[in-house]
């Protein structure tokens, strides 16, 4: 496991898209997770945003986020379907192969797992001609699906090759879902892992979860659940997960500081994590100073 496995998320960084891409790149990252806003709020329009991403040389980890899609009926479903199609179109235009869809927090959403699976199957079918995979994530304040175990149940029911799971350590820590539950998940069906920590021991209420998730997440190594985040990565690595890890750090302090500062902290988080997880894919260094001394 090395730097190549980790990516930043534009939501952590301040400034114009180009500056955020530059900061991530300058910190040594090779991939970046993008939001729809990065495209539509670009002063040059979507095409200019897409061009900036291409020129950055960064690989697109994924595109976020489709909210509140599943479990609706009638005109609400029809409306969300249009939104989903537009999001898939943006995702495709960007060259992203992954769309993040998070579990519905809508009061109008039904919770029958068969219904949720049917809706996610539909989303997956829409995504096939565009070459996009859909990663379904349990928000810790989701109305019916708020733990990854429930999201996994829906993904299995839907049974679509291009539909998988997104894990987010923030939500897993908030709900205190046992990591042993991961043993039931097929690592091939984990399409994305998002990593973040926070500063409080517990987030018992929905309001606390939402508020902390949107404003005060921190990088692994900066919060109070560091060992649990490291254990999550260790387990995923042992299970055979070889996909991307993306730092999903929403933090109001970081977005009012220059992007290189936040990118530097992300880089420290990679080191903090890789120091704690096996260095499976690190090449053996040939320039070890002690080797030279002994030679």
């Amino acid at each position: 496991m090395n730097l190549e496995n980790f990516g930043m998320d534009t939501i952590t960084l301040a400034g114009p898209l180009e500056a955020r891409l530059r900061a991530a790149r300058a910190a040594g990252f090779t991939q970046i997770m993008l939001s729809a806003r990065d495209l539509v709020e670009h002063p040059g329009g979507e095409a200019a945003a897409v061009a900036a991403v291409r020129e950055s040389g960064l690989r697109v980890t994924g595109f976020q986020v489709l909210r509140d899609f599943e479990g609706l009926s009638g005109h609400l479903h029809a409306y969300k379907l249009d939104i989903a199609k537009a999001m898939l179109g943006l995702c495709h235009d960007l060259g992203s192969k992954l769309l993040l869809a998070c579990s519905s927090s809508s009061a109008h959403a039904g919770g029958d797992p068969a219904l949720l699976a049917r809706d996610l199957s539909k989303l997956a079918t829409l995504a096939v001609p565009l070459g996009v995979r859909v990663a379904y994530e349990a928000l810790s304040w989701g109305k019916h699906v708020n733990e990854f175990t429930q999201a996994w149940d829906v993904v299995m029911r839907a049974d679509r090759a291009n539909l998988g799971l997104a894990l987010d350590s923030f939500h897993m820590l908030a709900t205190k879902t046992a990591l042993d539950e991961l043993d039931l998940v097929d690592p091939e069906k984990i399409f994305l892992v998002q990593l973040a920590d926070f500063m409080w021991q517990e987030l018992p209420s929905r309001e606390e979860r939402i508020n902390t998730a949107r404003h005060f997440r921190v990088f692994p190594g900066e919060g109070v659940h560091g060992e649990e985040v490291a254990e999550l990565v260790r387990r995923l690595d042992r299970m055979g997960y070889r996909g991307d890890y993306s730092f999903e750090v929403f933090n109001d302090d970081y977005t009012q500081l220059p992007a290189p500062i936040a990118a530097g902290r992300a880089r420290q988080a990679v080191k903090w994590l890789t120091d704690r997880v096996s260095r499976r894919s690190l090449p053996v260094r040939k320039d070890r100073p002690w080797a030279q001394r002994s030679g």
Partner: protein
């Protein structure tokens, strides 16, 4: 909201009953027409309002579309002919279309002019479309939109019993399962067991239509193909023939050139034509399918 019971679907939910027509788009329809004629297709009718020609051979209908906005929502045809659409015969086109949209297909914008049939369709791979046609027994879609060419037999016979066997679709790496799910859930196609092969190109994954009348073959890029331009698209029509050697001979006499080297030499199992016009090939496959 209606209640939904979770009973199993029928194996052929759309009542698919074979291929009604296959459509190419090109800005040079004469050049493609001459290739098609050497393959035994005969021009039989012209569209009333568009630069569109209907070719036939035995049970096969083939449309060459040169209209500038040939396919709704798509770019104009290029000089290199492109395989753009498969029209499926179904029990009820409106039902097939609505069900497909319900399950996550992308709607194709309508393009019918006044007094023309509106053929519903959905998007497939790349720029391609699937149409749904339910008028193919007592009454045909061509009766409305096409004018027969004077003095032309409307039912030219097939050379050597040729019929549509299937269509080959190029897909990107590791996308086979995505497309299997797509065709399985929308149309009820099922994958043939590995090892059950047809023709001379024993690669890719074969999907059988629920009516058992034709196949789709999915082909990922071959290993070491990083430098090849490989997009997702419909790439080739497969023609079935009960006696491939007889069909190959008859077509060779009409000037069709078959690849005669390497692993795709003509045999009793199949044959592959050379590439015409920068992108058109046909594959012959031994087949007893009854369209």
């Amino acid at each position: 909201m209606t209640n939904r019971e979770s009973n199993p679907e029928p194996t052929n939910p759309l009542g698919i009953d074979g291929i009604e027509f296959i459509e190419y788009a090109t800005s040079q329809p004469q050049a493609l027409g001459s290739v098609l004629q050497s393959m035994g297709f005969v021009p039989v009718a012209r569209h009333r309002s568009r630069e569109v020609m209907l070719y036939r051979q035995g049970p096969m209908n083939l449309i060459v579309n040169a209209h500038p906005d040939a396919l709704p929502g798509m770019r104009a045809p290029t000089a290199t002919p492109e395989l753009k659409a498969i029209a499926l015969r179904v029990r009820d086109a409106g039902f097939a279309w609505r069900r497909s949209l319900d399950l996550g297909a992308w709607e194709m914008p309508t393009r019918a002019s006044a007094m023309e049939l509106n053929i519903p369709g959905i998007h497939g791979a790349g720029d391609s479309l699937f149409y749904f046609v339910d008028r193919y027994e007592d009454f045909s879609i061509y009766d409305v939109d096409f004018v027969p060419l004077p003095g032309t037999a409307q039912r030219p016979p097939a050379i050597a019993g040729m019929h549509y066997f299937g269509v080959v679709q190029a897909i990107l790496e590791e996308r086979t399962h995505d497309w299997l799910d797509f065709y399985g859930s929308l149309f009820g196609f099922s994958v043939l067991p590995q090892g059950k092969k047809y023709g001379v190109l024993p690669k890719g994954t074969l999907l059988e239509s629920p009516c058992h009348k034709f196949y789709l073959q999915l082909i990922e890029p071959p290993p070491g193909a990083e430098d090849i331009q490989w997009d997702e698209a419909l790439v080739r029509v497969g023609l079935g023939a009960p006696d491939v050697k007889a069909a190959t001979k008859a077509l060779a006499e009409r000037g069709v050139v078959f690849i005669d080297r390497g692993s795709v030499q003509p045999s009793e199992k199949g044959a592959l034509t050379q590439v015409y016009l920068g992108g058109v090939t046909f594959e012959l496959v031994k087949s007893q399918l009854q369209p």
